[in-house]
Subunit: 470 residues, 2 copies
């Protein structure tokens, strides 16, 4: 509970209607898309502009009230679960596209803009904002910035971070700062733009962003390659890149994933093969045709049992949509779905998929794997039931081994989902004690009272995942 | 002078031959490419590997000895001038390309590798490392990383930062940390990779980097558009981008620059026009041809008096080389050459060039302007004589006004040269007191004894450029 004095000050700033400490309001924002994490905030506060956001932060700093900034809460690392209480700072009013600048190829947006709304607005002007997290229909740009979201187009186009040119942000002390701008080049001072992107709200509250746009590719084609063994699919991926073709997306789905995706989407995906590569290329028509032809040839050389090229935009769209529903489809299997994103150098994909399957067998758990093969960004996913404590323990052990293996192969514990609470215990595997100490020094310097999304990124205990029962 | 104890310890680590505190040795490293800055270091130390570098840093931290990491010293912001004494840490031994990984499209290098050597090695394998600072024939990758160097290809391909996937770095306490990896996606922890890139050695010493490579464009074409007024050239730039064409380079040279470049390069550049755009496009042959045609049409529509397309690779190369020699050519005019890099949103280029010319007239100084028009990254350059105190004062005032104007137009005080000592007094213009305070907090957190390239980025006095006479 917030002290009456604090509550009064906050209502003075945002108005009665934008401060909610009702049981219902708090319950709604007590969890995000991450299974097994829930904790009630003391209140939900919705600032109407940056000034209000800064004033709220200042009060929180004075009274040591934790702040959890939140968009739509679609993250999968419990990054927006208010595990330490305090307030949820909601950006429902700050949801404007401020401008789309066709001369400088930028979009300036508030954090509450829905990702797909921005993508659509930009595409209407013949421009392109590539980052496309699977949750883009409901995720917000603010959430994407805080988590440095990836997506299917990461291989060719990069991730959210690669499209951020400038930020307006509120620091823990309530100061409002601006980084970067509509500038292709800017080396004036430390790169706080990119330090803040992906820092999960632990260093600053992002209140505005200037994003880079590019011309939209003229055309796009989609193909599907089917394999009777995972190895051949992985080899195709490596060979495509080694042949200097960078497709727009290069997605991998294993047989168990295919089965559930097809059951969900019903678009005629084969379910009797061991693996599928879903490949898209975009660009000029000649380039797309040539690349698709060359990739078809490579897939066949690597023993694809079938290579199909989508015959229409509708068919291509259906394939790509089906892939995007993988999580929802898998989530229907069991009460709890744990989706991870261990990532390896792309040359290690076959090794990683093999290791995941061995680990699943070892711990008698079902793990379906799909993901962005071109990035080495895999999503091993476990349909399970958090009420079954014994199984959950095996699941936890399996994922711990998966993370260890990923790091061993030169990879990382999270490619695009963020650390949050969920991955915090494993961060040391990747960064070492020294790396974490340096991060903590920066965190403490910018947020001495630890009010900015506390409990995230930095683990209380190392190597042990904290499971809070919903 | 270093205490005998410190000197002894350092020699123990790197060996007699890699520790130089002779007058000559110190003199050689007392300045960099920046005019008017000189200061003797106490010694020049050349570690042979990361472990030695870390041990040297640890000793410096213990004894509060400043460290200035240095590649070839080609920077233009006095970033490697040892203004506070201490040691220059030279990477002449750590100059290996560790690997070029064709499957993951990465190059792993030590900081002492010459930029052009890397570019050539990579191109020999059909791959491409785009960052191309004008100094690339002698600059090192380590220097490029510390300054986040740009170059001519920034518009289409981005800058050094955009090609860094991972680092090995030594912190002020001597800890060795690793960030990122051969990973297209990695969100495990704060983005120290990009925080360190461009931090000018003030936060960490970079000892290894994993760089992103891309397939080399198949073909390239170069064109030259001549204008009798600057306005038309600037309008052509905006119109090209607004037409959704992103050329590989889009360079601007004004008449005074053209004249000196032609006198130096003697390749038949016109000197009787007010402005030139030098444009390159790369990609598939069809795309390049189409874009060059469309850009020619746009330039003509915007009153170019002549548009020429280079007829051979040799002619194209001559044009592009001539552009790269602009600084050397300008440097022949007068004893002192002050080259700046005020940068604006590209839509403001015409306004900025006009402002620069007005400011030059106001202060009776000669300012030639050239630069990366596509990026809005201009290089107003003043041939002057540092011995003429009265003129130097006017030059300083003129540049201060240029920086103020750039920031006013939504720009920045430095697009690609870095802050160093040179721009430090102006940094507050861009970042405000609050932004600088936040940067200082991070600096102090990671380097409490202020041994990492002290005196750089953070100004002693605001808004006043410190001129040290050589």
């Amino acid at each position: 509970m917030l002290a009456a004095e604090v509550k009064g000050k906050m209502i003075n700033i945002v108005g009665e209607g934008n401060f909610d400490d009702s049981k219902t309001g708090r319950l709604v924002y007590s969890y995000d898309a991450t299974p097994n994490f829930q904790s009630l905030p003391a209140a939900v506060v919705s600032p109407r502009n940056t000034r209000e956001a800064a004033e709220i932060v200042r009060i929180c700093n004075e009274h040591k009230v934790p702040i959890v900034p939140r968009g739509s809460g679609t993250n999968l690392c419990a990054g927006t679960c208010p595990t330490e209480g305090g307030i949820v700072l909601l950006f429902r009013h700050m949801n404007k596209i401020i401008d789309i600048d066709e001369e400088n190829l930028t979009a300036t947006v508030q954090p509450g803009v829905i990702t797909l709304d921005l993508i659509n607005a930009v595409e209407a002007k013949g421009l392109f904002y590539p980052p496309d997290p699977s949750s883009m229909k409901i995720s917000t740009i603010g959430g994407n910035l805080n988590e440095n979201s990836g997506g299917l187009r990461g291989l060719k186009y990069g991730v959210t971070r690669d499209y951020v040119m400038g930020l307006e942000a509120v620091l823990a002390n309530g100061d409002i700062i601006r980084t970067g701008g509509k500038l292709a080049k800017d080396v004036a001072g430390y790169d706080f733009t990119r330090l803040f992107v992906g820092s999960e709200g632990t260093l600053a509250i992002i209140t505005e962003a200037t994003l880079k746009l590019i011309p939209i590719p003229e055309t796009k084609k989609t193909m599907l390659a089917l394999y009777q063994d995972i190895e051949s699919a992985a080899k195709s991926v490596s060979k495509i890149i080694a042949n200097k073709i960078i497709p727009a997306t290069l997605e991998f789905l294993d047989q168990p994933t295919l089965e559930v995706v097809e059951a969900h989407a019903k678009i005629g995906l084969p379910t009797d093969v061991q693996a599928v590569l879903l490949i898209e290329q975009d660009g000029t028509p000649e380039m797309v045709n040539r690349d698709i032809e060359r990739m078809s040839a490579i897939c066949k050389e690597e023993n694809a049992v079938s290579v199909q090229i989508a015959e229409s935009d509708a068919q291509a769209e259906a394939l790509s949509s089906a892939r995007r529903t993988a999580l929802s489809a898998l989530a229907r299997l069991k009460p709890t779905t744990i989706l991870e994103d261990a990532t390896v150098p792309r040359s290690e994909i076959a090794n990683m998929v093999r290791a995941i399957n061995n680990i699943a067998t070892k711990y008698h758990v079902k793990i379906c794997t799909f993901g962005h093969a071109g990035d080495g960004n895999l999503h091993p996913t476990c349909p399970t039931d958090s009420r079954d404590k014994e199984e959950m323990e095996r699941v936890e052990k399996a994922f711990e081994e998966i993370f260890v293996k990923a790091v061993e192969l030169g990879g990382t514990i999270t490619g695009e989902h963020g650390v949050g609470v969920m991955k915090a215990p494993y961060l040391e595997l990747k960064l070492g004690k020294e790396g974490i100490a340096a991060m903590k020094a920066v965190k403490t310097a910018l947020d001495p009272n630890n009010i900015m999304n506390p409990g995230k990124i930095f683990a209380k205990d190392s190597r042990k995942r904290v499971v809070i029962t919903r």
